[in-house]
């Protein structure tokens, strides 16, 4: 294949900016470049690839931490009130004897773990990894740009995010522990939580949660401005809108969602901060009584206001987590079926319509708050309508498999597994979108099962597909195939072991916020054994990530080297860059000649036609084969 490309370069001459010469002088780009200090190159770097990797590694570590919180919580749910084995003493040592006496989780510690698990997994692990990690690393490469439009702003957004992570982690160590009001921080609970005796007015869990979120939101906003501006302004010549890879489209829609949906949450966070620091009553209603006493505030606020502002972000946020994985899966599936996506146009328009619709469905999270019938009808209609483009996207990806000559490298396994996970996650959501069925299922483990299917199995399948797919471009080495497969099977099987039983428990009515896993409720007795199934699955799932972690670090330095810049024989522009790409990315100016998925074009010599190769290659190819 490498030989193939070299020959091609001969025939095509200087017309095309072929990236094949890159391996030979991979260090080339630095020739005219002033050597930056180690700090500027690897820590305070403005290079989009370094920032992308920083985002990715930080958020993978956060994901591991968030998963760890859950691993401990699962013990409490299966064996309520028993000391946590192995790490019990550690819990007591870190969180104090009043939080974990004798290694037993107290309700406060459980609530802290739950709140921070949700917050960190969503805002500081999945979104930064998928949107910012891949977005930074891949988008400029895929559109043929030398960097992001605003490199310094890019660095600022990473560090803003990082400060948010540090604050959120640090909140465990303040008196009283981290936030306990759930990832939604519903008021008035969150207004009054962590206040009073024994709490610092500022350095307390909930206030730090708000401050950490403010930093995180600021980072997200700057990042989405950057991604959108990059996609609009820095596309290579010839890269028209309908030639953009679907991953770029998904990042564009995601960035718009973040840009427009996050600020209202930021304003809500400001208002909650005002409530907590200055005693305002934005979210405290008249006559609020806490612990038998009137809450000392003017009243007149509205708890529903918080919910509306929260879910105005909260719902688009779900799509923020799933859209980039759709893009990744689209890339991987098209590449490994060696054929175009079943319908590029349907895919793109579905992405766009999901983007628009996701802004006006948020209150389907709030059916139980006493909304009137007209307004619930509005939200039910749009919630149902949004399932159409979602199903179209799934259909495009599924039908793309039809008639393809499918290769099954590890990224493709993850991409294929994404499909059923997305299917289960999506279909279990429909009953929650309708008031009649939502009344029964609201706040049960069914809801937990549903959204985790979307956010954990589906999003993380996409995440791993992306990591295995783009790892060779980032490091110049392949991840180990065997251990990748071990990782894949461990992940897919035990993910379902964790989340499918939740759907069953939910039908029985097990409530999502019970601290004893339902042990104290008569009707739940028949499904209590499922708690142990889920817990054991979660622990094995944790063990199943070890092959990945070792593989990741081992392959970074010792993995099999790639023999070409384009190891997957893909069409999109990132594979035209040298491996790993230097500062400024490309060795030659890039021109784009065609759409991103021209695989197996009839009459072509190879089964792929990269976007950066001119029309002449079609003519040149038959000559080549005759030589």
């Amino acid at each position: 294949m490498r030989q193939d490309m070299n020959e091609q370069e001969h025939t095509m001459g200087r017309l095309q900016g072929s990236g094949s010469a890159a391996v030979a002088h991979g260090a080339g780009p630095h020739e005219h470049h002033i050597q930056l200090s180690w700090w500027r190159r690897y820590v305070f770097s403005t290079d989009h690839k370094v920032i992308g990797i920083q985002y990715m590694i930080t958020s993978l570590l956060v994901a591991l931490f968030g998963f760890g919180l859950m691993v401990v919580m699962r013990w409490q749910l299966s064996f309520p009130g028993k000391p946590v084995p192995v790490i019990g003493p550690l819990l007591t040592a870190v969180f104090g004897a009043n939080m974990a006496p004798g290694g037993v989780m107290t309700p406060n510690l459980y609530n802290s773990f739950g709140a921070i698990h949700g917050t960190m997994m969503i805002f500081m692990a999945i979104v930064p990894a998928l949107f910012a990690g891949f977005g930074n690393f891949v988008v400029p490469l895929q559109i043929g740009a030398p960097d992001m439009a605003f490199p310094r702003l890019n660095m600022a957004s990473f560090w803003s995010f990082f400060v948010g992570v540090v604050i959120m982690l640090g909140s465990f160590l303040v008196p009283g522990g981290a936030a306990k009001s759930g990832w939604t921080s519903y008021v008035p609970l969150a207004d009054v939580a962590d206040t009073g005796m024994g709490f610092d007015p500022i350095l307390n869990g909930q206030t730090l949660w708000l401050i950490g979120m403010a930093f995180n939101i600021t980072g997200s906003l700057l990042g989405s401005v950057n991604i959108i501006a990059t996609i609009i302004q820095l596309r290579a010549p010839g890269l028209q809108w309908m030639r953009l890879p679907v991953f770029v489209w998904s990042e564009l829609v995601t960035a718009f969602l973040l840009l427009l949906a996050f600020p209202p949450l930021e304003s809500a966070a400001i208002m909650q901060l005002m409530d907590r620091l200055f005693g305002t009553s934005f979210f405290s209603p008249d006559g609020l009584i806490i612990g038998g006493r009137h809450w000392p505030g003017s009243g007149g606020g509205s708890a529903l206001l918080w919910q509306h502002l929260f879910w105005f972000l909260g719902h688009p946020e779900v799509y923020v987590q799933i859209l980039p994985t759709m893009g990744i899966v689209g890339e991987v599936i098209s590449n490994n079926t060696r054929k175009p996506l079943w319908s590029y146009k349907v895919f793109v328009y579905s992405l766009l319509s999901i983007g628009f619709l996701s802004m006006i469905v948020w209150a389907h999270h709030m059916y139980m708050t006493g909304m009137g019938q007209s307004i619930t009808t509005f939200f039910q209609i749009f919630t149902t309508i949004i399932s159409i483009p979602s199903v179209l996207l799934g259909t495009v990806l599924l039908l793309s498999l039809w008639g393809g000559s499918i290769r099954l490298p590890v990224p493709m396994l993850f991409a294929l597994a994404w499909l059923p996970m997305f299917g289960i996650g999506g279909l279990t959501g429909l009953p929650l979108g309708w008031t009649a069925s939502d009344m029964v299922l609201h706040d049960t483990y069914y809801v937990i099962g549903h959204f985790h299917y979307m956010m954990a199995p589906a999003s993380i399948m996409g995440l791993f597909a992306g990591i295995y797919y783009w790892f060779p471009k980032a490091t110049g080495r392949m991840l180990n195939e065997f251990w990748g497969k071990v990782h894949f099977w461990m992940t897919i099987i035990f993910f379902n072991g964790v989340f499918f039983p939740m759907l069953v428990q939910g039908f029985v009515g097990v409530h999502r916020r019970w601290y004893d896993g339902g042990a104290g409720w008569q009707l739940a007795q028949n499904v209590l054994w499922l708690n142990q199934v889920m817990s054991v699955s979660a622990w094995i799932l944790a063990i199943g990530q070890i092959p990945f972690i070792i593989n990741f670090f081992w392959s970074t330095w010792h993995g099999k080297k790639v023999t070409s810049d384009n190891p997957w024989q893909a069409n999109t522009l990132e594979w035209a860059a040298p491996t790993p790409p230097g500062h400024g990315n490309f060795l030659h100016p890039i021109t784009v000649y065609r759409g991103p998925y021209e695989y197996s074009v009839p009459g072509a010599a190879r089964d792929y036609l990269p976007q950066w190769e001119g029309e002449e290659s079609k003519v040149a190819e038959p000559k080549l084969s005759s030589v």
């Binding site: 529903l304 509306h308 105005f312 209150a363 006493g370 909304m371 009137g372 019938q373 307004i375 509005f378």
Partner: protein, 100 residues
């Protein structure tokens, strides 16, 4: 901004006119708020503020002479904020057991 076509200096008279209009409208807005219009005060106030906003956005921020990319971006932002405000009001108006 089509600075190649337009001489920036030619815009100055327009800026001055907008300046005068903005000041005048601010005064009108204050005066109108003392009229006994009941709920109509809010309507008048927002109408006047809206006209001021259009003038400032269109002339001072050169929005009228901007290209369509910027127009699309702002249309999206305005659509979102209108959706936010309108749906919020609808949600407020349509509640079960609503007592006012």
């Amino acid at each position: 901004m089509s600075e190649d076509i337009h001489d920036p200096r030619k815009q100055v008279p327009a800026y001055i006119k907008v300046f005068g209009l903005l000041l005048l409208l601010a005064v009108i807005n204050v005066a109108a708020s003392y009229l006994p219009l009941g709920g109509g005060n809010i309507g008048v106030g927002l109408l006047v503020a809206g006209v001021q906003a259009i003038l400032a956005l269109g002339i001072l921020m050169h929005f009228f002479s901007e290209n369509k990319t910027v127009h699309h971006l702002m249309a999206l932002a305005l659509a979102s904020v209108v959706a936010l405000l309108v749906i919020f009001v609808c949600c407020y108006a349509d509640q079960l057991n609503f007592v006012k």
